[in-house]
């Protein structure tokens, strides 16, 4: 159907004000019903529709605004005095009291009460009603409650533009305060107008931070001085080191000069346990570790350039991201073993075995960002992941999985700190929210025999690694020897027989593992019919990668 309606307006009239006038309705188009179209429809009989006889209601949810509370004290004044007596005037009060004492009721009452009271006082003096009678008996082991952790408090970044909470530090005395460093870690993507401030929170008051620290560039890391709880050290995004005294205020007390500072953000800083209590280290991704004295913070006392092969703490960075000197990542009970967190696993290393870690977790789905030992239990450590979960590992209880895995928030968790008593954990997330969790007592009190069990585990794993290392060295030596002495047949033979045995054994073990993995994968990939063969091929390579110890031997054999 062609319908055309033309609107006309003169060019000279464009922009002219509208003069509306009334006119009767004008029929422009009349489209009559077309009965032929009815043939395209089928009548439905009976029609099925649901009805309800009850009252129709709708459900709504409303989230109330956060209720802000503040604690205040109230000052009481003496009250209860009758109107004619002024409590401040001594004469009047004495007069009032004397009057009361003459009252007969008073005398009787006191006599009565005095009697009862004396009875109880004498009772108290006679026996101790709280005496512990069964002290000598051993404590019966209480049935263990399931380990749990619950969120106590959440501290939100009061700034509008969200920043990541990159580092946390507990106050050294009493642990009532928490210092959190906020910065945006995306390279050069920090939004304009983002505040540089970092905050100190008091645990009792989650609505407002107790104090703000104002550096010139956002802080990436933050540490309380363990000797002097008023001094805080901070590492900035632009590589400088800054120092605050919380008594003096929010502005920086000392700042290092730009020329002598790091070239990259300072990712790790830590105080030294020195006599003066004023020395600290800082590390950054530019590969340097600097040693500072805060009394003279304009330039570092010493600079150390880091190589990748030495002292790598996180395997994912070229420079140092976390500093480990004296117990931070080291197990506080066994200083020879330390925990590293990097790529997608957490590994425990022992100083004795340098080639590989003695224990490690399986590869996770999400990237691990931070880890910490529990200061109370030697076999417990915590890790945080990019998907917002906090894992608590207890390898006396279970080695393959975390003992407890908690989803703390939806964004990635960046940092984690355990309080000294082992009960409270604070973790900081990508949008600046710091969550405070309390761990159940089962995970934060030392179990009987735990030290022995943990130490025996560590030793066992260390020994295993040592044996593997020794084996590898042997193989390599033999390889070398064989390559050099080609005309030494006897050695060849010996090697051959030895090698064959080893090959056979290694192959057997290798294929065992492959088959178990294969079975698992087949069960999983039942739906994908074309994939099983492909999966097994892929998996061969994958398992080879996983199987660190024996794999080297096998490849040696294959090259022979």
């Amino acid at each position: 159907m062609e319908i055309v309606y033309v609107y006309l307006k003169k060019r000279s009239e464009f922009g002219k004000q509208c003069n509306f006038s009334d006119r009767p309705a004008d029929l422009n188009i009349d489209i009559l019903p077309n009965p032929e179209l009815a043939a395209q429809f089928v009548e439905r009989n009976p029609v099925d529709t649901g009805t309800q006889c009850s009252v129709s209601m709708s459900e709504h949810e409303a989230n109330t605004e956060r209720f802000e509370m503040e604690s205040r004290g109230v000052n009481h004044v003496e009250g209860g005095w009758p109107k004619d007596v002024n409590p401040l005037e001594l004469e009047q009060t004495i007069r009032f009291r004397k009057k009361v004492e003459k009252d007969e009721n008073y005398i009787n009452a006191i006599m009565q009460l005095g009697l009862i009271m004396e009875h109880c006082i004498k009772q108290n003096n006679a026996i101790d009603i709280y005496q512990e009678y069964f002290d000598d008996e051993e404590e019966v082991e209480v049935t263990e409650e399931a380990s749990s952790a619950k969120t106590i408090n959440v501290f939100r970044d009061p700034q509008e533009i969200r920043r990541t909470a990159t580092h946390l530090s507990w106050h050294p005395d009493g642990n009532r305060k928490l210092a959190v460093a906020y910065s945006c870690l995306d390279f050069q993507r920090a939004p304009v107008g983002m505040s540089h401030e970092s905050y100190i929170w008091d645990l009792e008051n989650p609505n407002r931070p107790e104090m703000a620290l104002k550096p010139s560039s956002p802080l990436v890391t933050l540490e309380y001085n363990p000797k002097d709880s008023h001094v805080i050290l901070g590492g900035c995004y632009n590589g400088q080191i800054a120092c605050w005294d919380t008594r003096k205020g929010s502005l920086v007390a000392e700042l290092s000069t730009i020329e002598f500072s790091h070239r990259d953000p300072v990712y790790g800083s830590i105080w030294l346990q020195s006599k003066t209590g004023t020395e600290c280290f800082s590390a950054s991704t530019d590969g340097q570790v600097m040693w500072w004295d805060i009394r003279k913070i304009s330039e570092p006392t010493e600079v150390v350039i880091l190589d990748i092969t030495k002292k790598e703490q996180l395997e994912s960075a070229l420079g140092a991201i976390s500093l480990e000197f004296e117990p931070t990542l080291r197990n506080p009970f066994y200083p020879k073993n330390f925990l590293t967190v990097g790529d997608w696993t957490a590994r425990i290393w022992s100083e004795d075995s340098r080639e590989s870690s003695i224990m490690w977790t399986k590869y996770h789905m999400a990237y691990l960002t931070d880890g910490a030992w529990s200061p109370v239990r030697p076999a417990v450590f915590f890790t945080t992941k990019m998907d917002g979960t906090l894992d608590i590992w207890d390898f006396v209880f279970k080695q393959s999985d975390p003992a407890l895995s908690l989803k703390v928030c939806d964004e990635a968790l960046f940092c984690l700190r355990v309080q000294d008593n082992g009960c409270l954990i604070a973790c900081g997330s990508q949008n600046g929210t710091t969550t405070l969790l309390e761990v159940s007592s089962g995970l934060s009190t030392l179990q009987r025999n735990e030290r022995n069990i943990a130490s025996s585990m560590f030793e066992r794993e260390t020994r295993r690694e040592k044996i593997l290392e020794a084996r590898q060295k042997e193989m390599r030596l033999k390889e070398k020897g064989k390559a050099e002495g080609k005309d030494d047949d006897q050695r060849d033979e010996e090697l051959a027989t030895n090698l064959e045995e080893m090959v056979a054994q290694a192959e057997k073990e290798f294929f065992d593992i492959v088959f178990t993995e294969l079975k698992k994968k087949e069960v999983e990939a039942m739906a994908k019919k074309t994939k099983p063969k492909k999966a097994s091929l892929e998996m061969d390579e994958e398992v080879e990668g996983d199987y660190t110890g024996e794999e080297e031997e096998v490849s040696d054999e294959k090259s022979v």
């Binding site: 209860g80 009291r97 009862i116 006082i121 108290n124 003096n125």
Partner: protein, 96 residues
């Protein structure tokens, strides 16, 4: 009147007793052996607590009544003997 004095003196002289005070129904301390600010504090707080305790007992069983209130803390024990109009409060350090 002297009997009252004697009674109170005797109570005060018992082993471990730190302080004694008599408070009336409005919470005004009539007689005390401690300093004024402490007395006022104890009087105000214990008065309210005694009323609450009494009403608790009466709520559970209207025939019942509060005869004595003992609060044991880490440092000492506070004993309150209530009456219709007055309260006798004694703070004692139980010897163990």
């Amino acid at each position: 009147m002297t009997e009252v004095e004697e009674t109170l003196k005797r109570i005060q002289s018992h082993k471990g007793v730190i302080g004694t005070m008599v408070v009336n129904a409005e919470g005004i301390p009539i007689r005390t052996t401690l300093d004024n600010s402490t007395t006022v504090q104890y009087a105000g707080l214990l008065h309210q607590l005694t009323i609450k305790a009494k009403s608790t007992i009466r709520d559970i069983d209207p025939q019942n009544d509060l005869t004595f209130l003992r609060i044991r803390s880490k440092k000492h024990e506070i004993m309150v003997a209530p009456d219709k109009e007055y309260l006798l409060i004694v703070i004692q350090n139980p010897c163990e």
